[in-house]
């Protein structure tokens, strides 16, 4: 009886091909028009960038030391900020997803504040906390002789401050989606909490960690407000690509376009390289 029943439901459950949208079904105009406008709105500015790029002078413009310097600084600081976010953010995400303690929701809300905070405000807040006279910064300065504002390290701090919430939320989501019973299984096999995290949990949420890292890296790469407020704008040490673009726009628009194009190319390359492998898995 059970056998018969099972085979019957089995047949019914066999996946049927989803019916394709027929050519006859037309998209309602009130949806189609705004959608097309949306496409134009999102792609035209990028197209404008491409059209106005001085392709013939491109090589010369790129060779300008300022461009390479800013690009190098941007790539390094964004990567370091991502590493910092990973080191602090993954454990934090684990705490939010797995541990239960009073005030967890409040903590979660606090952590997401930098996500919605205007970056300039973040920069001011960083100055008040970590600046030379900041509540923490004064001790960093007097005890260790460390000053963060207006240094390359300051750029990394500013970028991580803005980018880390992306990583935390992404990893926390992945942890919540992962079946915690895998961790139970690891424990019954004799794995300590740390071993379980290292050998079971982390591999299970690797796609989420990767996606979060990409998001954080992209956010750090484009960081402007917090960086210029907290770290200033010194070529070679704190002038990242977005700052260079903004400045160049005022006295050398041609250079600004080239710099923008480089940023766009870097972003698209990273997105394309990781999309297939990670972004779809989220």
């Amino acid at each position: 009886m059970t056998l018969k029943l099972r085979s019957r439901t089995g047949r019914a459950a066999r996946p049927r091909r989803a019916p394709r949208t027929t050519a006859a079904r037309h998209v309602p105009l009130p949806l189609l028009l705004p959608a097309l406008l949306g496409v134009a709105f999102l792609t035209l500015p990028l197209l404008g960038l491409l059209v106005r790029t001085p392709w013939s002078d491109l090589a010369g413009e790129l060779r300008g030391t300022q461009v390479l310097q800013a690009l190098r600084l941007s790539l390094i600081t964004a990567s370091l900020a991502t590493v910092l976010s990973l080191v602090l953010g993954v454990p934090l995400a684990w705490l939010l997803a797995r541990a239960s303690f009073p005030g967890r929701r409040l903590l979660r809300a606090l952590i997401t504040v930098p996500l919605v905070l205007p970056p300039v405000v973040g920069g001011v807040a960083l100055l008040l906390a970590l600046g030379r006279r900041g509540i923490l910064g004064q001790y960093l300065d007097s005890w260790f002789g460390v000053t963060l504002p207006f240094t390359t390290a300051g750029v990394v701090v500013a970028e991580a401050f803005v980018a880390m919430p992306f990583l935390v939320l992404s990893v926390e989501g992945a942890l919540r989606a992962a079946d915690p019973r895998f961790e139970d299984a690891a424990a019954t096999l004799g794995a300590s909490g740390w071993t379980t995290f290292r050998r079971v949990t982390l591999p299970l949420v690797a796609p989420g960690v990767a996606a979060g890292s990409v998001l954080a890296w992209a956010r750090a790469l484009g960081e402007f407000g917090a960086t210029i407020t907290f770290a200033g704008n010194f070529p070679g040490t704190t002038q990242t690509m977005p700052l260079a673009v903004y400045l160049a726009l005022q006295d050398d628009p041609q250079a600004a376009i080239v710099l923008s194009l480089v940023l766009l190319a870097v972003s698209i390359t990273v997105l394309a390289a990781l999309r297939e492998r990670w972004m779809t898995a989220v």
Partner: protein
């Protein structure tokens, strides 16, 4: 390697209160309807759910005792747990899944893999060492999961519905294999199942719980013959009634009477098989002393016979042949006479 446990777990709207003793090498099947507390029992023994009160002793070592505030964490209890959906680590090969527990004991990678390979061989999957769990069939995954649970030589083996996720054909094969592995295992084994057949074949003793409490325990044959609750009676396919016996007559709570073969006195259970129930369109003459006018409430085909559910002075399940069904022309609502010979009834003290 015995298990001695006195478990109490309180949850809103549910209390598990169960004493369990399992001898070395003994296989105990824990049966019960959904929500009876079977999985909670397993998780409590494994240390995944803390006890509200009670004590767990495995192999002479107290791993949890609420009065002393002692609690050994799961990873140091040495209990193997086979999950219903196996939970093989998807990012590790079959071999590394089995080696995982051995590695956690501090064994070197090569050593652990060597023993894991021996386990793979023992479950007949030596040529699947490199396969990821996603590439294994249900039966293969079950065997890898069993090997993974057994490899670190646990003192207590817990099996959560080990055959439930398999199709009927694979199930037969895997049940036989599982039986062999359980016979080889020298620790205590607790097998959670809702399938009476699995329990009867694999277990030395059954423990039946309902609503978090023990309702019956004993050898499979004893429970199959003398069920003490409606749930167990349905499980083993018997009609079961509870009443007060006065010699050969048993009066049920709702007033109906059953005539039995053996004389009894006081509260008793009366059980008889659905095949012992005969149905007639008109009141039969002659010997059977148990006759009740009843109404058909359900008709269901079961293998080569038909199960008829009946209601009247008492609820009855009757198994008849398809030919008899056609002869009697039964449909829900049909009035018939049900008879049961006194010699077909089994009466035992409640």
């Amino acid at each position: 390697m015995t298990l001695d446990a006195n478990l109490r777990v309180d949850r809103p709207g549910f209390t598990l209160d169960l004493d369990l003793h399992i001898d070395s090498g003994e296989v105990v099947a824990l049966l019960g309807p959904n929500g009876a507390g079977k999985t909670t029992t397993l998780r409590a023994l494994a240390g995944l759910t803390p006890l509200t009160a009670g004590r767990i002793e495995i192999d002479g070592t107290t791993v949890e005792d609420t009065t002393m505030g002692r609690r050994t964490p799961t990873e140091r209890r040495r209990t193997g747990l086979l999950f219903q959906d196996y939970l093989l680590f998807p990012h590790l090969s079959a071999l590394d899944n089995i080696a995982f527990g051995l590695r956690c004991q501090g064994r070197s990678k090569a050593d652990a893999r060597g023993e894991a390979a021996a386990w793979l061989d023992r479950v007949g999957l030596a040529d699947h060492a490199a396969a990821r769990p996603g590439a294994l069939s249900g039966g293969q995954a079950q065997r890898v999961a069993l090997a993974r649970a057994l490899a670190p030589s646990p003192r207590l083996l817990l099996l959560d519905e080990p055959l439930a996720a398999l199709d009927a054909h694979t199930r037969l094969d895997i049940r036989t294999r599982l039986g062999h592995h359980l016979a080889d295992f020298d620790g205590a084994t607790l097998l959670v199942t809702h399938d009476p057949l699995d329990a009867m074949i694999l277990a030395d003793r059954l423990v039946v719980i309902e609503h978090g409490h023990l309702v019956q325990t004993g050898p499979p044959a004893e429970i199959a013959r003398h069920p003490r609750t409606d749930y167990i009676a349905r499980l083993v396919g018997l009609n079961l009634y509870h009443g007060a016996a006065d010699d050969h007559r048993v009066r049920l709570a709702d007033g109906a009477e059953i005539t039995t073969a053996e004389p009894h006195h006081g509260p008793v259970f009366v059980a008889f098989r659905p095949t012992a129930v005969a149905l007639y369109r008109t009141r039969p003459d002659g010997t059977p002393r148990n006759q009740w006018p009843v109404t058909v409430t359900g008709i269901e085909r079961r293998g080569d016979h038909v199960r008829i559910d009946l209601t009247g002075p008492l609820h009855l399940a009757a198994d008849i042949t398809p030919a008899a069904l056609a002869d009697l022309d039964l449909t829900p609502g049909t009035q018939v006479w049900a008879t049961v010979k006194a010699t077909e009834t089994d009466t035992y003290p409640a």
